[in-house]
């Protein structure tokens, strides 16, 4: 079984400095589910990422991946989600065919949220979004998906695109492989891309995080309780 998993740098670092470089939690869930599937069925998990060469060490240590490919080129910086989808499709087509292409399910207002939907449509593949568990049975992928207050059991024949929510795995630890794996770098020349057209032009982005959190200092639990009650009753 051949599984591709797309990962990116976690978006949390956009707002606050973070020394722990990491991928999105939902992508770790995708990697964990992919890894379980190949342990049972055999095969390999190939990770794809778009970014600068600083991502090599992060990709090399990702637990659950058997190989990693970084799509890196000056031309690949500041892409919109549509050009990211085109780029990823070029990379997928350059590889041997995959049975399953997995993504993390990003927030719906995240600029990259559309990525799995675009990739699925352009490759004319079925897509199962909002999966909280995924496994394989014969030539089918089965997923539990959550919508509001219901869980749906969905299945599709391979090849299929699945995007994973981290609803059942919010404590996914940062797992790192002890022996870093080789990371292949593909650039525009290798992929035969001469030009990338964007659909969306971002004129300005504003960070609205104006809150400056205040640490409540206290000398006893009673003192802290007084302070919390004051805040609640304000």
């Amino acid at each position: 079984m051949r599984i591709a998993v797309f990962v990116r740098r976690a978006v949390e670092s956009t707002f606050r400095d973070s020394s722990n470089e990491d991928i999105e939690r939902s992508e770790k869930v995708a990697l964990a589910e992919a890894s379980k599937m190949i342990k049972l069925r055999g095969g390999d998990v190939e990770v794809f990422a778009i970014g600068d060469k600083q991502m090599v060490s992060l990709l090399g240590q990702l637990y659950g991946a058997t190989h990693a490919t970084l799509l890196s080129d000056d031309m690949f910086t500041n892409l919109d989600v549509y050009s990211k989808a085109d780029l990823l499709i070029s990379a997928i087509r350059k590889s041997r065919p995959f049975d399953l292409i997995m993504f993390g399910e990003y927030l719906q207002d995240d600029p990259d949220w559309l990525l799995p939907y675009l990739v699925a449509d352009k490759l004319n593949l079925p897509h199962i979004p909002r999966a909280i568990r995924a496994w394989s049975e014969d030539s089918r992928i089965i997923c539990e998906c959550v919508y509001y207050e219901s869980i749906y059991l969905k299945e599709s024949r391979v090849p299929v695109v699945v995007s994973m929510l981290d609803a059942l795995h919010s404590s996914v630890a940062i797992l790192r492989d002890v022996k870093p794996k080789e990371v292949t770098i593909w650039d525009s020349k290798f992929l035969g891309i001469k030009e990338i057209a964007k659909k969306l032009k971002v004129n300005e982005t504003k960070n609205n995080l104006s809150k400056r959190p205040t640490l409540i200092e206290y000398n006893s639990y009673d003192d802290l309780a007084d302070k919390i009650v004051d805040l609640i009753r304000k």
Binding site: Y82, H127, Y152, A167, K201, T214
Partner: protein, 312 residues
């Protein structure tokens, strides 16, 4: 200009039509799009009373249940016929999924979380919010475009006259995704009814017996209890607070033992005051709240309950 509205939910569609009418200028046309077998004849009749120039009804038995791909293909048929400049989609999760797939099919950008927009020289200029409002961006794109608003805070408005109806025949095949089963999650805790004060519990509330104290605290605070994904995963609550599921905007939000992630902090952005208590000094939430304290919540919660009782 030609506009169209679609949602998988009647209320969402009614609010969307009202909001869309707000952007219409003289000579513009607004169509509603609906699927006969999905909505049923009664809802279709109600949809005719919305402020629309035309209601397009796609009739195909394969559109009886939600199917992202089939629904997107049906909307594509409507688009092919009328070449809309902008398609407005509702704020339901399913609406946006359909929009994502449709965006690829018609090659139009899809702006999710749109706060406002205008059209100048055939270009769409939009304000978009991301991560529940933590970021806002000004975007520029060519028409046609698809838009899903950040908030649909409009009441559904109905007209005295009925919209003209046009039946659209679409070739929609069976879904490639089979739904084997559906489980409606049962409630194991308190109903969310009062949204002014909320207590959100998380990862570091380890045992269900601790809920007894928290329940008492909620009663004393006149607050309702919600949880993060770890609580959902333990099957203590049937949904989680986060942009991906339940967005909350209380006056006071007391977060107990919640570490937090970008989904959670995006889902609570509308809260007036966030107070976070946790023993983990590296909690992500501490960076996104108003007040925080590093404390052993297991020892502290009984003290807080005692204090609240004393005040009462």
């Amino acid at each position: 200009m030609k506009f169209a509205c679609f949602s998988t939910d009647f209320d969402s569609l009614a609010r969307l039509v009202s909001k869309s009418n707000h952007y219409l200028k003289e000579g513009d046309e607004l169509h509603g799009l609906a699927f006969r077998y999905y909505f049923g004849d009664d809802i279709i009749e109600s949809l005719r009373k919305l402020k629309l120039n035309k209601l397009l009804i796609v009739t195909n038995i394969n559109l009886m249940n939600y199917d992202m791909e089939g629904f997107a293909n049906a909307l594509l048929e409507c688009f092919k016929k009328y070449k809309y400049d902008i398609i407005f989609l509702g704020d339901k999760i399913e609406d946006r999924e359909i929009g994502a797939r449709l965006s690829s099919k018609i090659g139009a950008p899809f702006i999710v979380g749109c706060r406002d927009f205008r059209v100048e020289a055939n270009k769409l200029l939009a304000e978009k919010s991301s991560y529940g409002g933590l970021l806002t961006s000004s975007l520029e794109a060519n028409l046609p475009a698809i838009i899903s608003f950040d908030e649909l805070n409009f009441e559904g408005q109905f007209s005295d006259t009925q919209a003209q109806v046009e039946e659209i025949k679409a070739q929609i095949t069976h879904s490639r995704i089979i739904v084997r089963d559906k489980t409606v999650l049962s409630m194991r805790y308190r109903e969310l009814s009062d949204k002014n004060r909320l207590i959100c519990i998380g990862e570091n509330i380890h045992e269900e017996k601790e809920l007894k104290d928290i329940n008492e605290l909620a009663t004393l605070m006149k607050a309702e209890i919600v949880g993060d994904k770890t609580i959902f995963a333990r099957n203590w609550l049937k949904e989680w607070v986060g942009y991906s599921n339940l967005k909350i905007k209380p006056e006071v939000l007391l977060e107990l033992g919640v570490v937090g992630d970008i989904d959670h902090v995006s889902g609570i952005q509308g809260s007036k005051m966030i107070v976070a208590l946790n023993e983990d000094p590296d909690s992500v939430l501490f960076k996104f709240c108003d007040y925080y304290a590093i404390t052993d919540i297991h020892k502290f919660i009984p003290k807080l309950v005692k204090k609240m009782k004393k005040i009462k």
